[in-house]
């Protein structure tokens, strides 16, 4: 998402996405722009260089990463927008990608709106969990960190007719031997994004649906273990210091509900 600049601001902060008409129909033209400016931008680049765990957030790096990830995810059978840059070279100049236009609301908005019936919600989350789990399994089997979504949230999934299309693949983790910790991190990010959009009761119900449909419960358990039950100092400190500690819909509250959902599903409690 872009952090829009105020009118009259001479900076360009955040990507721009436009509809562009072509002979083949309407496509998406995505122009990559910096996330930040000034000291924050440089501090971020420095931290990235020091950490070196992910691809950089420079405009060029995000542009290259997204094009690579779209190709890798598509080859793995994941539903992502088609990269049409080669088909429309006249529209590609500078850090620009041409993408298939996928029409539909964002899954995060749909789940948060409360407009779905119970059955629709079950179908939708079941479908999502199956595709989600399949991608996680591939990432672990192939030891390919690129198949883990670095910025995972239900707001980065478009609900198109018959499709759940993942968007925003501008950053990726660098290759590593074990990608399971990255998968658990993505799971936590999704759970947290859901917690921001629904109330506690709804979240508990939704998590039970997700747990029931997710193919590998050990990964969900690992997410809980890693973040909630971990004796590691960093997580103990994080739990203690986070402002949302103790609130049901914060990160740890949501993960506690995930643990409850895992227990409930394991005991076949409806």
């Amino acid at each position: 998402m872009s952090r829009d600049t105020a009118p009259g601001d001479v900076r360009l902060v955040g990507n721009r996405i436009w509809l562009a008409r072509t002979a083949d129909g309407t496509v998406i033209q995505k122009l990559y722009a910096p996330h930040d400016h000034g000291p924050r931008y440089w501090a971020r680049l420095l931290l990235e260089r020091l950490g070196a765990r992910k691809t950089p957030t420079t405009v060029r790096a995000r542009w290259r990463t997204e094009r690579e990830l779209l190709r890798v995810w598509r080859a793995a059978g994941c539903d992502v927008p088609q990269d049409l840059s080669e088909r429309h070279p006249a529209l590609v100049h500078g850090p620009v990608t041409i993408l298939e236009r996928v029409e539909g609301p964002l899954l995060g908005h749909v789940l948060g709106s409360g407009r779905l019936s119970e059955q629709e919600r079950v179908d939708l989350l079941t479908r999502f969990a199956a595709a989600w789990g399949r991608r996680h399994r591939l990432a672990i089997e192939q030891r390919d960190a690129r198949l883990v979504q670095e910025h995972g949230t239900f707001l980065h999934v478009i609900m198109a007719p018959g499709r759940l299309v993942t968007i925003d693949l501008e950053q990726a983790y660098h290759p590593r031997r074990d990608v399971r910790p990255l998968v658990t991190r993505e799971i936590v990010a999704y759970v947290r994004s859901l917690a921001k959009r629904v109330d506690e009761a709804r979240l508990a119900a939704d998590l039970r649906i997700l747990v029931a449909a997710y193919p590998d419960r050990s990964l969900l358990e690992a997410a809980v273990r890693e973040y909630v039950d971990s004796p590691r100092l960093v997580w103990r400190l994080d739990r203690r210091l986070r402002r949302d500690r103790g609130r049901a819909l914060g990160k740890y509250g949501a993960l506690a509900l995930l643990r409850a959902a895992l227990l409930a599903v394991a005991e076949h409690v409806p």
Binding site: M1, S2, D4, T5, P7, G8, V10, R11, L12, G14, N15, R16, I17, W18, L19, A20, R21, T22, A23, I28, Q29, L31, H88, P89, A90, L91, H93, G94, V96, L106
Partner: protein
């Protein structure tokens, strides 16, 4: 609208003129232009009207040298010297026409006794209507004028796309504004290509040209038409990212030194913060493009 690369088109038909030599004293030397050049309309023995453009204008040689120095060493443009401008204009006309854009036809077979051959050129006389008058003409319904503008925007983008695809600054209208386009027989006719940019990223030059055109729209047509024509531009220009190059030119030139100079130019010169300055036009186009961006819609 198509994003396909523009195909080369044959030059449009124009009156055939046999080789002819004209004596300088036979030309009625009423100058049709300003100080930079002499433009003389002349009827050839075959009855065809031509315009003889003499690049040695009334300016002093020192001024030509000064302008050339500024162009070549400071602003990254081609020389202002008469012979160079003549050669450049001929080259640009041929380039534009090869891409299917109508310009004043060249009649190199028309020679003028008493003038240095590489300092003048005979051009087709085109009695079209300048944009400057056409869009101000309230006798033409506004919607009709806007339809012409929309058609122009499509052709404008086609030229910009060709310039970017071929990385050819000759396809950028260095002195582009509403004074240098006319409508004739349903076609847009472009003129004044004496100089080109020789330095700079081609996308940024596209942005500069758009800013220059839209600044002239604001200056000559006033706020009301500027608003409408800019809205039409943003809505119908087929490549929003290329249109955003207006902002790139004004505030984010890829060359750090140029960027700094432009920042200072914007900050220090009050005229550059007026509503229809090139910088403010760039900001206005950026604001309109931001409003059309789906990221903003989703955030909202």
């Amino acid at each position: 609208m198509s994003d396909a690369s523009p195909a080369a088109c044959p030059p449009p038909p124009r009156p055939e003129v046999a080789p002819v030599t004209v004596r300088l004293e036979d030309i009625d030397r009423d100058n049709m232009a300003g100080a930079g050049n002499y433009l003389w309309k002349h009827r050839l023995p075959c009855g065809t009207d031509v315009v003889v453009k003499v690049y040695y204008g009334s300016r002093s040689p020192l001024l030509y040298l000064k302008k050339s120095f500024g162009n070549v060493f400071l602003t990254g443009r081609s020389s202002h010297m008469p012979k160079r401008r003549c050669a450049m204009e001929v080259d640009c006309v041929r380039t534009w026409e090869r891409h299917g854009f109508r310009c004043f036809g060249l009649y190199p077979q028309v020679t003028v006794e008493g003038l240095p051959r590489d300092g003048y050129m005979a051009y087709e006389y085109v009695p079209g209507r300048h944009f400057r008058e056409l869009f101000k003409d309230r006798k033409i319904p506004l919607e009709e004028r806007m339809a012409i503008w929309r058609r122009f925007v499509g052709e404008w983008h086609r030229r910009h796309a060709a310039a970017v695809a071929e990385d050819d600054p000759r396809l950028i209208h260095e002195n582009g504004d509403v004074k240098h386009v006319m409508l004739w027989q349903g076609e847009f006719v472009y003129f004044d290509f004496e100089m080109i940019y020789t330095a700079g990223d081609i996308r940024t030059l596209v942005g500069r040209e758009i800013c220059a055109y839209m600044r002239s729209v604001g200056r000559f047509f006033g706020d009301e038409l500027y608003e409408r024509m800019t809205t039409e531009l943003v809505e119908h220009y087929p490549d929003p990212a290329l249109l955003m190059s207006t902002w790139t030119w004004a505030f984010h030139d890829p060359r750090p030194f140029t960027r700094l100079v432009r920042r200072l130019d914007y900050a220090l010169k009050p005229k550059n913060r007026k509503k229809h300055s090139k910088y403010e036009v760039a900001l206005d186009i950026k604001r309109r493009l931001d409003e059309r961006s789906l990221t903003r819609a989703r955030t909202a």
